[in-house]
Symmetry: D2
Subunit: 142 residues, 4 copies
């Protein structure tokens, strides 16, 4: 499947759609097979002890599923998350970025389903996993 939005167009699009989180996320890799994104661990995402918070991990999983879906359907800023299940499995490493590996499992006409695994940068075992469903707005007929 050829991507409709390549990596170099995706970051500017994200900053335009979500100006509040500008600089929070980076795209490490995006091709037809897989997406790797990064949460730059900043002070505001940390819990006491220096580990990344649950809500920050949720944000990363959510944006990774959005980017993975957008890269396949084109820039549909209005796609919205309808469901997420997330399991927090290990304490993230203090001070490390969190890395998301995302895979689109289904791309339907009105829904996408994306699996995401989160890792502390450089660690082999996932800190969390999530599955997200996005609702894709119907195409406007011109």
């Amino acid at each position: 499947m050829v991507l409709k939005v390549p990596a170099d167009e995706m970051e500017p699009f994200l900053n335009e759609v979500f100006p509040q989180v500008k600089g929070m996320f980076g795209i490490d890799h995006l091709d037809e097979e897989r997406l790797v994104m990064r949460l730059h661990a900043g002070e505001q995402h940390l819990r006491p002890g220096g580990t990344v918070s649950g809500p920050a991990m949720f944000s990363l999983a959510d944006v990774a599923a959005y980017v993975a879906t957008m890269s396949r359907i084109g820039k549909e800023a209005l796609a919205v998350t309808t469901n997420c299940s997330i399991d927090f499995m290990r304490k993230p490493l203090a001070g490390a970025d969190v890395i998301a590996h995302a895979q689109v499992l289904k791309l339907g006409r009105t829904l996408s389903v994306t699996d995401v695994r989160l890792f502390s940068d450089g660690q082999p075992d996932p800190v969390a996993r999530a599955t997200l469903t996005y609702s894709i707005p119907p195409k406007r007929v011109p």
Copy 2:
């Protein structure tokens, strides 16, 4: 069930445990039956159009489940979220606070399960629902 941590002790405890989100949440009501919390809709929680973001709603559901659990077991700062499922059902009202109604469905020896419904302040239909599992650390024997 008598609460181990009443409402007036809970806010200072939250601010101590989660200093990064100080002022973000308020407790509207806490008694033996129910907990009502509020997300003060600030600029950093908004999406374009002025609606509260998914991650901010996740944060509110997560902290409400934490507070509901703590009020019953006592101040166990180390309890951690292990699982969350969340359904986003309606677009929140622009500019309105989001209100969480939380109910502890199970309080076991090692796990709690809490249901949370989220509303735009003053609206009858929920914008989201979530269920969260907290893992409760075993008591240290003194």
Copy 3:
């Protein structure tokens, strides 16, 4: 909201659509506000010890969400479950029927979201809770 399919039409419809589970479920109550269904605890739904199995509880939650949705949109046999999150919280009582209380939280054009709580007949604390999303097929224009 007036129901499009009243209780006395629903059981024959269920038996027609799901002949394999005929006699497994009963509708205790169905009105505009709430649906109560029952799993007749039979040998094939039990685990050693006489408690109802997880898959049988999943079946009950699934069919309750289906019935609650159908009662509002009309007989759309093709509606399909797209997502379920379920928490098993207590061991069901041996030999007791399992009772589902279902509430439709959202009825959109293409999706419904229903919350279900499951109880052992006569017990106050839920044995499980579930949320189910059904995808509703678009109306055929005649």
Copy 4:
């Protein structure tokens, strides 16, 4: 990680623990890395049209997570499912067995988390995905 219960001991153990589903499931492959199980598509698991039902797919995901966990911790018949999230993504192929690929993502002292993908036998795209948490009973001190 060396398996505590190899494949040839697992099927007799399953039949002993879950006599009601004897013959319903088979283990295609079990080693340190992965588990592949099969639901023998029988009349009682089918929906009109000949496709495997949602509850039957849930059953397969649940038993696969159980087997994957047991193979690593030993025969703990009392381990119980506490949570499952499942996404149904495609209609299963009529008449085909459903195949589960299971991977244990976390094996803690009291909880295991297992990811399962379900396929119609011979098809490349998953029909469903699930994540299951099992609660592992504490060891009895002899």
